[in-house]
Symmetry: C2
Subunit: 210 residues, 2 copies
Amino acid sequence: MDNTASDFERQPTAAVRRGRRRISPDGADARTQIVEAARAEFADRGYDATSLRAVARLAGVDPALVHHYFANKADLFAATVDVPIRPDLLVAEILRGPRDAIGATIVRAIVTQLDSRPTRDAMLALLRTALGHEFAARMLRQFMVREVLGRVASELDTPDSELRASLAASQIVGLIIARYGIRLDALADASPDEVVARVGPIVQWHLLGK
Amino acid sequence: MDNTASDFERQPTAAVRRGRRRISPDGADARTQIVEAARAEFADRGYDATSLRAVARLAGVDPALVHHYFANKADLFAATVDVPIRPDLLVAEILRGPRDAIGATIVRAIVTQLDSRPTRDAMLALLRTALGHEFAARMLRQFMVREVLGRVASELDTPDSELRASLAASQIVGLIIARYGIRLDALADASPDEVVARVGPIVQWHLLGK
């Protein structure tokens, strides 16, 4: 039950695991080159206007190699901000379960991921940057709307699904900041089960409540 | 109804209003000196260990003058981070209304305050700093726990009031970031009444729900 999280973690292929990173003939690390090119493209053009083809061109690699490492643009974006999550698989995981458990599934996934230090640090850094720079905020907004909220919202039948998804996101972002960022004691010390029990129904209500 | 917010806004005395700021014989602005000394003391010692007496000493003024400008330590802290709210009056305002409207009262106060640009900018800057610096995070935590959450929580009869207050804070912080920081469209565009209708019950549930 607790290993649901592993389903949407990015699984490195053997070639990119530590110790076997150099894969291209010239000794450069192709995956790193792609991530750096993507970071530059996202920074220049924003999330929506960046294409995998343009990233490949900038990295000097074949587009097929980008697709070899990254399932899609959302996956590549997550890599540029060091968040080791495949957003598309996370969304699929959320939608696969029963409807009345969507809130709990989301909160358990968040807590499971963020109780791990590197993911937590990456997520907090991403939020901090987005709070400090309008461009980064716009990119995070486009990413969340297109790849995460939009996909969950499109599965909901309510007319105000985008507002609902945004409200759910507000509780999730707040949970991340209060438990892992500012670390309010009572919430930082609560067990994962307690957090799921307290916040799951809220996310559920935002998404599907009347 | 919408001017409830004015009750807890810091009301400048005539002496500190723009154009009449110089009040001390040597031409210095005593209030500014006090705020700067407080900023230094908070930065050196943190929220809990800072005293108004020590701030007065550092500012080179009589402690009575600190009390002339600031009701208490919470009020002084809010001034050092440019948030023009009197936390003690805000808490009093929240607790004065009917119990089943506490969530809506809190959310309306937040939205009313943060739809005003200077307060919003100050609040986002405070959160950004707290996410970037452990010391600032600790200070914000101590401030929120002592002066805001602690006071609301102490009025609640539940055994887990601190956890409840922290959960309410998580939704409030998330609302601030999603509506005013990252600005998710649907939430940023929602009317104050809509936000109160959607988020008020959540804050209420966190604080007092079963």
